[in-house]
Symmetry: C2
Subunit: 184 residues, 2 copies
């Protein structure tokens, strides 16, 4: 089997740059029933998912990069408040959240590039409050995969809205069988 | 639990219009290791998935719409050749496949809109070679969910390329736990 791609800062930045464009193409202008319906009690709609990405952008990714660079393993990351997004998204439209995501991501990546990280920096260590020791490269790779895990969730939540409309084809449509792995 | 969205031709066309833009934003310009690596033996890369969408666009969706409108249940759909894409994608770049997808999808939707389908048409029936009786509305809803099932697959295949790079975070990343429901 082919091995995992090795972490590359330049590639990670390319992937992270494309996510706001992808979500914009996928979601902007859709009727609310496509973006505000979820998969049932205690699940997230597309609106909630974009709100979560904004919240992670504000409180998680670059703050944790800075914690590693400034304090190493000595200071654990602040725990991520999974419900901050409820307050931060309140009263906004999906279009506003998408605009916010584009702006926040662009600011995050400008700040990341300004740090001019070298290979040795990527091996620096930090302390995750639940997972223990992690490296800066692992944090940055996780940022990329976190985008993808939520794109995976978005496509599933949207497909779910037509679960009854596809009739017998549901047997052939893998996304309708996805059990909804926790995507946090 | 909220009910499934009811099929809407206008909404389906909006969703189908956005897919080429979404794939373009997600994939164009990425290094080959992100778009040509797969999940192991007998699985698809991003390149293969876009080739499959092109193949479905050529041989499946609008040809089946026409079969229903012209022959109803009397003539079963032609079976879908899942390997036509290998021939049709050979020697092309991902960028060429993305351009093709945008063109083919645009042509499909122009032809669909030119049919000026009415509510009564959406209830027309056809015969799927394996699934039996299906309606035109089910075919069109399946077209939408088929796009989403492959976006779901794409996000999983891409995330897989960093499966080792995320370190202990893999425990929190749902997409890395997706078993890869058959997405045909």
């Amino acid at each position: 089997m082919q091995s995992s791609n090795k972490f590359s800062l330049a590639e990670a930045i390319t992937l992270l740059t494309q996510t706001p464009l992808t979500l914009n193409a996928l979601l902007r202008g859709l009727p609310d029933i496509w973006t505000h319906n979820n998969e049932g009690k205690d699940t997230w709609s597309a609106f909630d998912i974009v709100g979560h990405l904004n919240s992670a952008e504000r409180h998680d990714w670059m703050p944790r990069v800075r914690t590693i660079m400034e304090s190493g393993e000595a200071r654990p990351f602040d725990p991520f408040d999974r419900f901050a997004q409820m307050r931060e998204s309140e009263g906004k439209s999906l279009e506003q959240l998408l605009d916010e995501f584009a702006r926040l991501r662009s600011e995050s990546l400008a700040a990341l590039q300004a740090m001019n990280l070298q290979s040795a920096d990527l091996a620096r260590r930090g302390t995750h409050p639940a997972l223990g020791t992690v490296t800066l490269a692992e944090l940055l790779a996780t940022w990329v995969v976190h985008d993808l895990t939520h794109l995976h969730q978005l496509s599933r939540v949207m497909a779910y809205q037509y679960r009854d409309e596809v009739g017998p084809w549901s047997a052939f449509l893998g996304v309708l069988k996805c059990a909804g792995h926790r995507a946090g």
